[in-house]
């Protein structure tokens, strides 16, 4: 392993240990010894969430080939994966996007027999439930679109098969972010987003598949609407939700709508907004500027999302081998630890654990107070010793997921109405 070159030797040593201890299979090692492996380049399109240069650098170090990253916003990634499939080899996309993209034939199924740690993946992805008795969560759950019956199937299996649409890599439970210093009262429910006290200081994200779910959480919490299935609304339910949003917009409740991670950070950090839909690392980014920001757990539970790596249909031969090599590497620990340290969750927990210090694992995954300063992957202090993660442990957070980002049967209608809300 060439990982011993990483800046912190303790981590390097742990990674080395993790790579050999992580599982029965020895993972992380390149098993491709072809001479021309160095010439292989995998072109990946994804969002800024996981399209991170340190990952590409580590791939080069560990596996020897190049990972070339293109980063765009959620909708654009799905669009380009579907329409310009040949320009990329790997699609790093969300499960609700794959529901749209997979049937276009842009992505080939992943043969799970070639994935060494397939049985170590968190059961949310393989059985649909975190623990055998936890609920499924409404919406486009990763499990519902995670498997197909055959290589030519255009619809999803809805049960575990040997063919996966995406290899899960990263997921999280989302809630509202607040500025505790400016908001002036405790926040407990999703409906607090539309409290008139925060008029002109609230924001919701403008990605229809995600925004509609936040809106549904708000409407349900405020008693405006009740849904049969939030993740698959009827036209009447969509109308009710969007009409309510338009009403709120006209009343001046929202300061702005954001579409990219950076926009949400700027809105919050500048104080333009005090309560808004937010993603976990965006909260961390605001905090790392020395500005108080809380990822507020709410009584109704979380809205979750997950994304994974898909292999484009045209990838074959040596490149396909490299792609599988890359997928296996992703689960082997380094990447998992890297993502966990930013507040996301990795698909295989034990290999990630082996790559994290006890303090890091305790803080990020177990909800324990930090015993020493928590550093970001770049080495910046994110949290002082004694801090506790908002929302607590992995089980507490992922166990309270009530819905997933969604593509509905009435998607076309929903998107049209959502556009009307934005234009209203």
């Amino acid at each position: 392993m060439s990982e011993t070159k990483t800046s912190i030797t303790r981590r390097g040593a742990l990674a080395l240990a993790g790579a050999t201890l992580g599982s029965g299979a020895v993972s992380g090692f390149p098993t491709l010894w072809a001479q021309n492996i160095k010439d292989v380049t995998l072109r990946q399109i994804g969002t800024g969430v996981s399209g991170l240069n340190p990952i590409a650098e580590q791939v080069k170090k560990d596996l020897g080939f190049n990972l070339q990253l293109t980063v765009s916003d959620t909708d654009a990634v799905a669009q380009r994966a579907a329409t310009q499939a040949r320009s990329f080899d790997i699609a790093d996309i969300e499960y609700f996007s794959i529901k749209k993209v997979y049937p276009t034939g842009a992505v080939q199924p992943i043969d799970t027999r070639k994935i060494k740690l397939i049985d170590k993946i968190v059961p949310i992805f393989t059985t649909g439930r975190l623990t055998p008795d936890s609920p499924m969560g409404q919406g486009t759950s990763p499990f519902s679109v995670g498997f197909v019956e055959s290589a030519t199937a255009k619809s999803f299996a809805g049960q575990r098969t040997e063919l996966m649409t995406l290899l899960p890599t990263i997921y999280n439970a989302d809630t509202l972010g607040i500025r505790p210093d400016l908001i002036g009262r405790p926040i407990r429910n999703w409906k607090d987003l539309i409290d008139p006290a925060f008029k002109g200081k609230a924001s919701i994200l403008n990605i229809p598949g995600i925004g509609i779910m936040d809106a549904a959480m708000v409407c349900e919490s405020a008693g405006i609407a009740r849904y049969g299935d939030k993740g698959n609304m009827t036209q009447a339910e969509i109308d009710k939700t969007i009409n309510f949003l338009i009403e709120q917009k006209r009343a001046g409740q929202f300061r702005a709508f954001w579409k990219s991670f950076d926009e949400s950070v700027n809105l919050m950090a500048s104080g333009e907004v005090v309560i808004q839909s937010m993603w976990s690392p965006a909260v961390a980014a605001v905090r790392s500027r020395g500005i108080a920001c809380t990822y507020q757990p709410l009584e109704e539970g979380y809205r979750a999302w997950g994304s994974g790596l898909g292999i484009m249909r045209h990838v074959s031969g040596l490149q396909l081998d490299a792609a599988y090599e890359y997928l296996n590497w992703y689960l082997s620990g380094w990447a998992g630890a890297f993502l966990n340290r930013q507040g996301y969750y990795s698909a295989v927990l034990e290999t990630a654990k082996a790559n994290m210090s006890e303090n890091e694992w305790g803080y990020w995954m177990e909800g324990k107070p930090a015993t020493a300063d928590i550093l970001s992957p770049e080495g910046k202090v994110m949290e002082k010793a004694g801090a506790v993660r908002d929302g607590g442990s992995f089980m507490e957070r992922m166990g309270k997921v009530v819905c997933w980002n969604s593509v509905m049967d009435e998607d076309r209608y929903m998107v049209r109405r959502w556009n009307e809300f934005i234009a209203a």
């Binding site: 654009a76 276009t104 702005a256 333009e272 556009n419 934005i422 209203a424």
Partner: protein
């Protein structure tokens, strides 16, 4: 054979226009009649896309809003652009200074469009420089909210981005005005305003026409400025199209694009009727 020569000479241009303009346009029109679901385009001939454009009150409002943005931006850039050009052409006497000042007007173009827009955010924000300055001076007690993420911000950014497109052609026509005409006007007893109205303005018409076409066409097709400066609160047709493309609703986007194209062509042809820009060329 000689009769074929002109055809051969125009063939390259014709081929380029055919491949890169006419065929894509034809495809745009064809796709606008397609049906679609969330996964794919369905070749068909349906009018739903156009029905959705015209039946929704929101699309109408969006089109009106876009026109309103274009109109207001045009008025402001015309006013600003005309007087800037006038200053450069008639007030500044030294050709060196004229050149220096002219280059200065292009300074905003030395950075990208996006950066020029984003630069407004820390200036206009609730806790931005302007609000903090006004609060410190005691001119206001509450930060002015309308400065950012509002129509005001959108128009401001448009004016900032596009005034130069008005200044350059107007300046160009002004420089071509024979100075003796102005002397003659003065000798004939015309005052400042009369000379401006009866001599300079008519001779500047082609420049104003070209500038207006630039500004109106740019604003009508814009989506980034409207989204960033209004914080997603306002919509323009371009933004609506970009949203639809992002969500893979290509036929709906194509139908909107066809309608927008028709509208812009009508506007431009109206301007060309009012002003003969060929005098400029």
């Amino acid at each position: 054979m000689p009769r074929l020569f002109p055809w051969l000479q125009t063939a390259p241009l014709l081929a380029v226009l055919l491949v890169f303009l006419l065929i894509p346009l034809a495809m745009l029109v064809i796709v606008s009649f397609y049906d679609y679901d969330s996964f794919s385009l369905i070749p068909d001939f349906v009018l739903t896309n156009y029905k959705e454009v015209f039946a929704s009150s929101v699309t109408w409002r969006t089109y009106l809003k876009t026109l309103w943005f274009a109109g207001l931006t045009w008025l402001v850039t015309l006013g600003l652009g005309f007087w800037l050009a006038y200053f450069l052409a008639f007030v500044v006497q030294s050709p060196t200074w004229r050149m220096v000042l002219f280059v200065l007007t292009t300074v905003p173009f030395w950075t990208s469009n996006l950066i020029r827009m984003i630069a407004w955010v820390p200036f206009l924000g609730r806790n931005g420089i302007l609000n903090n300055g006004l609060l410190a001076m005691g001119a206001i007690n509450q930060p002015l909210e309308f400065l950012l993420f509002s129509d005001f911000a959108v128009i401001l950014a448009f004016v900032h981005l596009y005034t130069l497109f008005m200044v350059v052609p107007v300046f160009n026509t002004m420089m071509r005005i024979d100075r003796r005409l102005l002397e003659a006007a003065r000798d004939a007893g015309a005052g400042f305003w009369q000379a401006l109205w009866c001599v300079i303005l008519p001779l500047c018409k082609p420049g104003i026409g070209i500038g207006s076409i630039f500004v109106v066409v740019l604003v009508m097709g814009d989506f980034a400025t409207v989204r960033l400066m209004s914080g997603g609160q306002s919509a323009s047709v371009g933004l609506m199209i970009s949203n639809q493309i992002g969500l893979m609703q290509y036929p709906a986007a194509a139908a909107n694009a066809v309608v927008l194209l028709a509208m812009v062509l009508l506007l431009v042809s109206a301007m060309l009727r009012a002003i003969d820009i060929r005098k400029e060329l």
